[in-house]
Symmetry: C2
């Protein structure tokens, strides 16, 4: 039988584990399905571990991105997983599969990009593995810690507000420009291209978010705002109401969408690989900055069903998401 | 420039890290180049992290091994890295790249094999990532802990003795039989095939080794006995004298080598992916068993140079090893 979906496969693996009578140890806090695995180190100290794999021609293409950008983005995604639990990234480990004919300079440039992302978040490259493979395959594991109870996807309650860091929509727009191959568009919209190839790292906002908002649920936007918000709502058995007019969207995205006759709100709702932090909180704050990273209120958690409001009009919403096996 | 060797690449990455002024934090104990990264959790408690990647047609072939065997072996290698530091494996994380046309049953069987290895060592599958790729790519990260100072490759001193668990040589012999494709040989030497496809897991011997031997240096045999012993000697700036006659070699290996007119000692010295533990200790013990796993004295650490002795004759030895980029 063919694999139905990534989520279906993960569910089946989880049930295999349960069927063998294996249970998680008593010091684990959060497990399969969240951004990180979390376990208790000691009182008020938690360990966080996350892993991600990026494959050439699936997650990145050599003709679109420099090796520095490829390395940077792969690492940024992992750092983001630790941030999304409210943690501080500490050590990272890189296993890399490399084609035999690849140049040493190219490989070292991938590492330069990874080290750039690591430096921005104060994380250390602490180990790894190098093997040969047909295509470049970058597998990153990251270890982080937090003094607060790790913030999982589950925990949002009706009446709470929904927040997002930075800006959204640009990554998908940047990708569509790169896919079009149109040089004039690539030159005209550098912000969109940059956001797709080298997304910002939000780890420096985590401490502020944890202190000011005490988030009840958090996730980083990797599948898309709607899709990741659904993860939070499914985990917490709630619904949401998103305010389209308050979504933090850059002017450049609006210009591009106007020129291309596409809805910027659809772009913002569906754009994946943003690596912005999406969280819920009881606190009601319109907008705040932490270390120059804006945090914007974009909606609220409700009992059930998913709605978006635009120009005062409230409508139910359908959710699409990226699946590796569909 | 082409990549010269795996070790050269790792050395260049390490020097990039240093050139950026990045230093390891004060709580790290052992880093790049050893079986695991090790850091201090608290007094007398250390965290160990290791990562490994296995790629289809590089590390395993679908026509030689069942999916269970592929999963089992990939996991066994990682568990072995934690054992080689004297640690107890705790949590593991699997990132897997899968071709689009692969069947769900095949993938779940890979996980069955991994779970089998995990169960044998009391380790938990705690997370992972599933992505699409051209060929199967399994990247495993493992977290373990130890109450003792982690045992690295460095630390052996002249006058100490060299020990190895289990038996050696069978993995390479099993591989050569599989490479030959000869059905009659495959049926005749099941132990050799088994050792190559599903190497024993020695994690249950670690506690005994730590208690009885207080190892000064330890490594798991992944490149080959000579090659891995050289890692210990280069790290500790010593030499070795290996006694060929005392190498723990199974009768089936001797029979196969006799039939094939190859030297069983060469096979034992060069066979990689054995995942036996190789360590040095001040203690002088000929042979001891821990939970049915034999530990055998095979030589001693000397000031400099590498020698093997056979039938009382001592000769210098040349060392070959597997390199992914050669």
């Amino acid at each position: 039988m063919k694999i139905k979906s990534e989520w279906d496969l993960i569910a089946k693996i989880s049930s295999r584990i349960k069927s063998k009578g294996i249970t998680l140890p008593s010091d684990s806090v959060i497990s399969i399905g969240d951004d990180c695995f979390a376990y208790i180190i000691s009182e008020n100290r938690y360990g966080l571990i996350s892993v991600d794999m990026s494959v050439e021609d699936v997650h990145f293409k050599k003709q679109w991105a420099t090796p520095e950008q490829i390395g940077y983005k792969a690492m940024a995604g992992n750092i983001s997983d630790i941030s999304a639990m409210g943690g501080t990234p500490r050590f990272t480990f890189v296993s890399i599969g490399l084609p035999e004919n690849i140049s040493e300079e190219y490989v070292l440039s991938i590492y330069d990009g990874m080290l750039d992302a690591l430096n921005k978040s104060g994380t250390i490259l602490a180990g790894g593995d190098t093997v040969s493979s047909d295509k470049i395959c970058i597998s990153i594991s990251i270890y982080g810690e937090t003094d607060n109870l790790p913030v999982g996807r589950k925990g949002a309650s009706p009446g709470e507000f929904i927040y997002v860091t930075g800006n959204i929509g640009a990554s998908k727009a940047g990708l569509s420009i790169l896919l079009s191959g149109k040089k004039e568009l690539i030159d005209k919209y550098p912000f969109l291209i940059q956001k797709h190839l080298m997304p910002d790292i939000r780890s420096s906002a985590t401490a502020g978010i944890m202190k000011e908002f005490s988030p009840t649920a958090m996730i980083d936007i990797s599948d898309g705002l709607l899709s990741d918000l659904r993860h939070i709502c499914v985990s917490g058995n709630t619904g949401f109401e998103l305010n389209i007019d308050s979504l933090p969207v850059e002017e450049e995205l609006k210009s591009f969408c106007l020129e291309s006759d596409i809805s910027y709100s659809d772009m913002a709702l569906e754009s994946g690989e943003e690596y912005e932090l999406l969280f819920t909180s009881e606190k009601d704050i319109e907008q705040v900055n932490f270390k120059n990273i804006p945090v914007t209120k974009i909606g609220k958690i409700i009992d059930r069903n998913y709605y978006i409001t635009q120009n005062g009009k409230k409508e139910p919403v359908q959710i699409k998401g990226y699946d590796h096996f569909k």
